[in-house]
C-alpha cells in the first residue's frame, strides 16, 4: 500500500513542473507561437532561482527573481519571433543554446566549476492540516510543496481564462487567424508578445521549482528535456489546460515509475529506466498528432501587409 501511495504522490510531485511550464506554453501555443525555447527559459529560471535564494536567503524571493529574469529572457524570444518575425523553431533552438551557455558561464563565475553547491533556502513540504491526515488520500494529494498546490489550482483558472474571457478569446484567435484579428482591431503582435512573456513567467517558476523544490542546487543542463516534455504535454493534452493536466500526470507517472523501478533494483539497466519518460513522450506524440487542435496559424509569423 505504501508503495502505491508513494507512487501516486511522486507522480503528482513530478507532474507539477511539467504542468506549470505547460500551462504557460498552452497560451503561447494557442497564440500561434511554437515555444521550443521553453527548455532554455526553465534553465534560466532554475539558475536565477538558486542565485536569488542564495543572495536573499529566501526561496520565495528566489522564485520572484527567477520569474523576473526568465521574463526578461523570454522577451528576447518574443522580440525575435514577434517583432523581427524570425523562424520560431530556429530562434527557440538558439534560445536553448543561449540559456545553456549563459547558465554555465554565470554558474561557474559565481560558484566555481567544481566546488560543492552553495547552501540555499528551498521549498519545503507543506502538509495541509486536516486533509493530509486522511488515510491514502492525504499523503497522495495534501502533502506537497506549495508550488504543487498552486500549479493544480491554476488549471481550472487557466481553463476559465482561455475559454470564457475576452483575453482568452483574443489569444485563441490570434493563433488561428491573425489577419482576421487584425481586421477587428486586435493587436496581434502585442497579444503574441504578452503570451510569450506569460509562458516565461510560468517557465521561470517551473525552473526554479526544479532547482529549489525537487532539489536544492543548480547543475549544468539540469532541466534535461523537461521543457520539451512540457511542450509535448501541450500537444498530448490537445492544447487545453485540462488536457495538459492529464498529459502532465501521464508524464509524471512515467517518471514516478522510473524511480519505483530503480528503487526495486531490478535487472533492467538504469539507463533504460531513465529513457522511459522520453520514450513515453514520443509515443504520446505519435498517438495524438493526427487529430489535434493545433492552431492553424501555429509557427507562422504574422506579417501585416
Amino acid at each position: 500500500m505504501n508503495e502505491v501511495v508513494s507512487f501516486f504522490s511522486t507522480t503528482i510531485r513530478l507532474a507539477a513542473p511539467t504542468l506549470l511550464a505547460a500551462l504557460g506554453i498552452v497560451f503561447s501555443e494557442r497564440a500561434g507561437i511554437v515555444n521550443i525555447g521553453t527548455e532554455g527559459m526553465m534553465l534560466v529560471g532554475a539558475l536565477a532561482g538558486v542565485i536569488g535564494s542564495y543572495v536573499t536567503g529566501s526561496a520565495w524571493l528566489g522564485m520572484l527573481i527567477a520569474v523576473f529574469v526568465t521574463v526578461l529572457f523570454s522577451a528576447i524570444f518574443a522580440y525575435f519571433t514577434v517583432v523581427v518575425k524570425a523562424d520560431q523553431t530556429v530562434i527557440g533552438t538558439g534560445m536553448n543554446l543561449l540559456a545553456s551557455g549563459l547558465t554555465i558561464t554565470v554558474n561557474r563565475a559565481l560558484f566555481g566549476a567544481s566546488t560543492s553547491p552553495p547552501e540555499i533556502d528551498s521549498f519545503g513540504i507543506v502538509a495541509i492540516p486536516g486533509l493530509s491526515s486522511i488515510p491514502i488520500i492525504g499523503p497522495i494529494f495534501f502533502n506537497h510543496h506549495i508550488i504543487v498546490y498552486l500549479t493544480f489550482i491554476l488549471v481550472p483558472i487557466a481553463q476559465f481564462v482561455m475559454f470564457r474571457t475576452n483575453i482568452g478569446l483574443k489569444v485563441r484567435s490570434v493563433g488561428e487567424n491573425p489577419k482576421a484579428c487584425d481586421t477587428v482591431g486586435i493587436r496581434v503582435g502585442l497579444t503574441r508578445f504578452l503570451s510569450i512573456l506569460y509562458s516565461g513567467v510560468l517557465a521561470g517558476m517551473a525552473g526554479s521549482f526544479i532547482s529549489m523544490g525537487m532539489v536544492s542546487f543548480f547543475t549544468e543542463g539540469m532541466i534535461a528535456g523537461g521543457g520539451f516534455i512540457a511542450l509535448a504535454a501541450v500537444v498530448f493534452g490537445n492544447y487545453t489546460p485540462r488536457g495538459v493536466m492529464l498529459s502532465s500526470l501521464v508524464f509524471g507517472a512515467s517518471n514516478s515509475l522510473m524511480y519505483r523501478l530503480q528503487a526495486l533494483a531490478t535487472n533492467i539497466p538504469s539507463q533504460f529506466l531513465l529513457m522511459i519518460p522520453y520514450v513515453i513522450t514520443i509515443i504520446s506524440l505519435c498517438i495524438v498528432s493526427r487529430k489535434s487542435n493545433k492552431p492553424l496559424g501555429s509557427g507562422k509569423p504574422y506579417i501585416k501587409e
Binding site: N166, N177, G185
Partner: protein, 510 residues
C-alpha cells in the same frame, strides 16, 4: 444627400509600384456606391487604406466632414466604417458568436456570450439572415459565412459598409439575397461601398460608381441611371475596346480520352464530397465544369490526378484504368494539369524558372537519366518554352516568385501544354489575371483542343464558362446536375443549376 466619406488625392506606393495614384473618392450618405475596376486596379488597396489596414503614402480622408486619421481597423470601426473582405476574416475553429464578439470593444473581461447571442439573433432576424450563433464557422456554408461577416460589422453599429467583391463566391440566387440585405441597409440610412468588376450587378444595385484603372480614377461618381451602354463602363475599366470573345471554331470530338464512372469520394471528416460523378471528355473538345467554389470541384480534380483516393468508382484514361494509381503514374499516362492555385501547387516560388519547368517531368528523359539531372538540356528547353509562351523574365535563372501573376501562369500553362498530354486539366486558368493574360491563356487552351487534346476546364466565372467550353457540366454539392452543349447554356439557366435547382417545376432552395 450629404457626402459622408471623402478620400482626397490618395497615393499609395509599395516600393516602386504605385497601387493608388492620386485617387479621389467621394461617397454620399445613403447610397450604394460601386468601386469598379479590373483585378489589380487598386480597388482593394484603396478600401484597405480606408479601413486602416494600409497607410496611405499621401492624401487625406474626410468622414462626415472632418479629417480623420485612420491608423487601424479599430479606428475605422470606431468611426462607423465596417468592411466585409473578399476572403472572409473568420476563424473556422470558433463559433459564430465568438467570431462576432472577437475584438468588440464593448466586451467585458469575462465574456457574456449568451447576451451577445441574443442581441445577434435579434439583429439577424431583422435582416432575415438566420444563423445559429453557436454553430462553428467551419460548418457554415460560404453564403452563411458572408452573412455572418455582414452581421459582425452591423453588431458594431457601422454606418458605412464596404463589401469587397461580395458576389464572387455566391450563386446568382444568393446574390439576390445579398441585394435584398443591401436594400434594407440603405432603407435604414446606411451607406454601402460595393467593390466589383461585374457590370450587370453594378447596374442592378448601385446608385453611382467610381472606376479605377491601374491605380488611377477614370471616372468619378457616375450616376448609374444615366449610363446607357455597359460597354462604356467596360471601356473606362479596361482602357481599350475589349475583344470580348476568344476566337474558336466548332469542336470535332474524337475518341473518349477520359471516362469517369460513378466516382465517389468521402473525405476524412466523413463528408460525402463527390456523389456518383460520371462524365467523359473526348479528344478535341473542351468540357467545362461550372459551379460555385467548394461544391466538389477541387476534390474531383484531385481524384482524377491521384492526389486524393476515390472512395469508389472508376477513372479511365485512354482506356486504361487509373483509379487508385499514384499521381506519378497518372502524370506519366499523359495528363497536363494547370492546378487551381499556382502559388500553392503549380510552382515553387523560391526556385528558378528552369527548375520550375523541370518540376513535373524531372525524373524522365531527357530531363534526366539514371537519377542525374540534365541541366544543359533543361536550359535549352526552358529558353524555348519561355520564348514560345512569351513569359516575360530577365532570364531562366530568375526565381518564379519575381514574375508577375500573369507570367507565372503562362509559365505553368506553357509547361503543362509542352508535356504533350492527351488530357489537359485546367482549373481556374484565368483566376486573378488581367484581361490580356486571360485571353492569351484561353486562346492557348483552345489551340490545344484544336490539336486534338481533350480538355477539362474548371471555372467559377460564368463569362469563361459561356465562352470557352464545348460542353458544360454543372456541379452542385458534389453531384453533376446537368451536361449541356455550349449553345444550350444561358446565364440564368446555369445560375439556377449552380444553385442546385435542377428544374423549375421542382424547386428546392439551396
Amino acid at each position: 444627400m450629404t457626402t459622408i466619406l471623402e478620400m482626397r488625392n490618395i497615393t499609395k506606393r509599395f516600393g516602386s509600384v504605385v497601387a493608388n495614384d492620386d485617387v479621389s473618392f467621394s461617397v454620399r450618405k445613403g447610397e450604394v456606391h460601386a468601386l469598379l475596376g479590373e483585378n489589380g486596379a487598386g480597388k482593394s488597396t484603396l478600401m484597405n487604406i480606408l479601413f486602416g489596414l494600409y497607410e496611405q503614402t499621401s492624401g487625406e480622408i474626410l468622414y462626415k466632414g472632418e479629417t480623420v486619421n485612420i491608423r487601424s481597423p479599430r479606428d475605422a470601426i470606431n468611426l462607423g466604417i465596417g468592411m466585409v473582405h473578399q476572403h472572409f476574416m473568420l476563424i473556422p475553429a470558433h463559433s459564430a458568436i465568438e467570431n462576432v464578439v472577437l475584438g468588440y470593444e464593448g466586451n467585458a473581461a469575462v465574456l457574456d456570450l449568451k447576451g451577445a447571442a441574443q442581441r445577434f439573433t435579434e439583429m439577424a432576424e431583422r435582416y432575415h439572415m438566420n444563423i445559429d450563433p453557436w454553430e462553428l464557422v467551419s460548418n457554415l456554408s460560404v453564403g452563411q459565412q458572408q452573412r455572418l461577416e455582414i452581421l459582425k460589422a452591423l453588431y458594431r453599429d457601422v454606418e458605412t459598409l464596404i463589401l469587397d467583391e461580395p458576389t464572387a463566391v455566391l450563386t446568382p440566387q444568393e446574390v439576390d439575397g445579398l441585394f435584398e440585405v443591401i436594400r434594407q441597409l440603405i432603407a435604414e440610412g446606411k451607406t454601402v461601398v460595393f467593390i466589383s468588376h461585374k457590370l450587370p450587378e453594378i447596374r442592378e444595385i448601385c446608385d453611382r460608381c467610381t472606376i479605377l484603372r491601374r491605380g488611377k480614377v477614370t471616372a468619378a461618381g457616375l450616376e448609374i441611371s444615366e449610363i446607357k451602354d455597359l460597354n462604356e463602363l467596360a471601356r473606362l475599366m479596361v482602357g481599350h475596346e475589349v475583344e470580348l470573345v476568344t476566337e474558336k471554331t466548332l469542336s470535332e470530338p474524337g475518341d473518349v480520352v477520359l471516362n469517369v464512372e460513378n466516382l465517389n469520394y468521402t473525405n476524412d471528416k466523413g463528408i460525402h464530397v463527390l456523389k456518383d460523378v460520371s462524365f467523359d471528355v473526348r479528344a478535341g473538345e473542351i468540357v467545362g465544369i461550372c459551379g460555385v467554389d467548394g461544391n466538389g470541384q477541387s476534390e474531383l480534380i484531385k481524384c482524377l490526378t491521384g492526389l486524393l483516393p476515390a472512395t469508389s468508382g472508376k477513372i479511365e484514361l485512354m482506356g486504361n484504368d487509373i483509379t487508385g494509381s499514384s499521381p506519378k503514374e497518372i502524370l506519366k499516362q499523359g495528363i497536363g494539369h494547370i492546378p487551381e492555385d499556382r502559388h500553392a501547387m503549380g510552382m515553387v516560388g523560391q526556385m528558378n524558372l528552369r527548375e520550375n519547368i523541370a518540376m513535373v517531368d524531372g525524373h524522365d528523359e531527357p530531363y534526366s537519366s539514371h537519377g542525374f539531372m540534365h541541366w544543359k538540356w533543361i536550359d535549352d528547353f526552358s529558353r524555348k518554352l519561355v520564348a514560345k509562351f512569351s513569359v516575360k523574365t530577365p532570364s531562366i535563372m530568375e526565381k518564379a516568385i519575381n514574375l508577375s501573376g500573369g507570367n507565372q501562369q503562362k509559365l505553368v500553362v506553357g509547361r503543362e501544354l509542352s508535356r504533350e498530354a492527351n488530357l489537359l486539366i485546367a482549373v481556374h486558368p484565368s483566376r486573378g489575371l488581367d484581361i490580356g493574360a486571360t485571353k492569351y491563356i484561353q486562346s492557348q487552351i483552345v489551340e490545344a483542343r484544336d490539336r486534338g487534346v481533350a480538355v477539362l476546364m474548371v471555372s467559377t466565372e460564368l463569362d469563361e464558362i459561356l465562352e470557352i467550353p464545348d460542353r458544360v457540366l454543372v456541379i452542385y454539392s458534389g453531384r453533376i446536375l446537368a451536361c449541356l452543349d455550349q449553345c444550350d447554356c444561358t446565364r440564368s439557366g446555369l445560375g439556377l443549376l449552380m444553385a442546385g435547382i435542377e428544374d423549375d417545376s421542382e424547386e428546392q432552395t439551396a
